[in-house]
Amino acid sequence: MERLIAAGEIVAGEATGRALVTTEPLSFWGGLNPDTGEIIDRRHPLSGRIVSGRVLVLPHGRGSCSASGVFLEAIRNRTAPAAVIVSRLDPIIGLGAILGEELYDRTVPVVLLAPEDFAVIADGDRVEIGRPGQVRVAREDEGGQSRMVVP
């Protein structure tokens, strides 16, 4: 069973992956190694985790203006997350994804969720971003069965 959430498309596209979730904002510059996909901000709760192929669920970016550049490097190097879900419209993260499309023709969807929907997604959930503006969230129980995700 699954839950379907309406989302705002910042950068439209389709993607699927396991959720990597944080409630702490992150600057990609100084926070993400675009060669390895590792989160390297040692003050951040996700320090040491790998974003590659995951659906990165973070409230928004912070700090540096170079964050979009680091995101673009990660897209070029194929270490980027499969998609990014934010709870606040973040132009700098959107910019990295738009550049990825314009320069490398690769889409990393970036979608905006209302804070109450954003809070539903837990680390490890299977997340599917669809069009137009849909986020499908499924969680497996201990027996490996998907069950409905409720807030």
């Binding site: 675009p34 003050r43 979009s68 190097n77 132009p91 990295g96 320069l103």
Partner: protein, 425 residues
């Protein structure tokens, strides 16, 4: 209807999008018009100045983009300054940079110069001839420069990340939204400083700490700070802005009675009621100061000044502190600044004093955008909130935040020397 269709463009702007000004301008306008709706804009706005952050070498994508724009004949449409680059153009060989890395970093700088940008190579362009004036509409990048330009000068820019900055410079346009518009520059959150020791608020190390706290309190909201019983100098405001733009996405703050759009608290809020009020006392600041350091004592191998780039005044103060002293063996000392300031230091004789202390005075770059620091360094002592924040992740070192005098004393002693002074009051 896509958001781009909702943008109302002038005939000239439509022409740019259609490729009438060449392929580089077309690509830049495409990126700009896709981004404008994310800023909430329905039109574009002309600017008179740009500052480019995209010249920091982050990897091959940034290089490929800049070289592509340059090869397509891109030319900036407004005076454009360049941020730090990832090597010291004149001294990189002595600094031991890998040749391949230096080559790419140089090609990146070259591409931006070929597009007509000026070789300022500094993250503190507001302390150069490229500084904007009050009310000027500009397209600036580099978080600390954005916060300073908006807050301290009263110029108007949003945070334009890599590589929207060059897109704005090539088109001479920005999204007409956010901090470019008067109504969006009013205060939102009232931050009241309470019962701070008078000898604390005049210290240099107070300002990065206040900024670091401010960023965590408001993130991207516009703070109005009331109750600052001091007249901070330009370099103190620079440290405040840089730290606030590090811990949060601060692009504009007001200091009541100090910064130009805040003659009074009431005027900074434009007569509106604050969304919320936060009281800040000495304990809150002590906590923020604690968070800037990941270590507090022990030996050190690295001391750094200059994020943002040290001004001439800051370098000369360092020269005063370093005169007749010497860094302990095994301690690497960096003073990162602009080439304009380095040239002045050379002429004033201060450079000799700094070098005699054992400091490396680099131009054009800094320790977190170029691999200057020798591998194996473990503990950094710095007076910069920004260096203290980023160094653990980017350099893999422990960071100790300290006052300027203590940084110099630590370098000399070869171990962390931090006097708490009024912080412990």
């Amino acid at each position: 209807m896509t958001p781009v269709d909702r943008l109302s463009l002038t005939a000239e702007e439509r022409g740019m999008l259609a490729g009438e000004r060449g392929e580089a301008t077309r690509l830049a306008m495409r990126i700009l018009t896709r981004m404008a709706p994310l800023y909430g804009a329905t039109a574009l706005l002309p600017v008179t100045r740009a500052h480019i952050d995209g010249c920091i070498y982050e990897g091959d994508a940034g290089l490929e983009f800049a070289e592509r724009l340059a090869a397509l004949g891109g030319r900036v449409q407004v005076p454009t300054s360049l941020n730090v680059v990832s090597l010291d153009h004149r001294h990189w060989q002595q600094l031991g940079l890998p040749a391949d890395y230096a080559d790419k970093a140089r090609r990146l700088g070259r591409a931006y110069l070929d597009m007509g940008a000026a070789p300022t190579f500094t993250c503190a362009p507001y302390q150069t001839a490229a500084a904007p004036t009050f009310g000027e509409q500009i397209a600036w990048s580099e978080s600390n420069a954005v916060a300073f330009a908006n807050s301290v000068i009263g110029a108007r820019t949003n945070r334009y990340g890599d590589y929207l900055d060059i897109s704005c410079a090539l088109t001479g346009r920005v999204p007409a939204a956010g901090l470019h518009l008067t109504e969006n520059r009013l205060g939102q959150v009232l931050v009241r400083l309470r019962d701070l020791p008078p000898d604390l608020v005049v210290r240099d190390d107070f300002y990065p700490v206040l900024g670091y706290l401010l960023g965590t309190l408001v993130d991207d909201e516009i703070a109005v700070v009331a109750g600052l019983e001091a007249q901070p100098g330009e370099d103190q405001l620079k440290a405040l802005a840089a730290a606030a733009a590090t811990s949060g996405s601060v692009a504009l703050f007001h200091l009541a009675g100090i910064t130009p759009e805040a003659p009074t608290v009431a005027e900074a809020f434009g007569g509106r009621t604050p969304l919320r009020t936060v009281d800040v006392g000495l304990d809150d600041l002590r906590r923020a100061r604690g968070e800037l350091s990941t270590a507090t004592d022990g030996s050190l191998d690295l001391v750094a000044f200059g994020s943002p780039h040290c001004s001439l005044a800051e370098c000369r103060r360092l020269a005063g502190l370093m005169r007749g002293r010497r860094a302990a063996p095994g301690v690497e000392v960096f003073i990162t600044t602009s080439r304009a300031v380095r040239d002045l230091l050379e002429r004033s004789g201060d450079l000799e004093t700094l070098l005699a202390f054992g400091a490396k005075v680099t131009a054009d770059t800094c320790i977190v955008v170029a691999p200057l620091v020798r591998t194996g360094a473990r503990t950094l002592v710095t007076n910069s909130g920004k260096y203290a924040h980023y160094a653990p992740g980017l350099l893999g070192v422990q960071a100790v935040f300290a006052a300027t005098e203590d940084c110099v004393a630590s370098a000399e002693a070869g171990r962390v020397v931090v006097e708490d002074g009024p912080w412990s009051a």
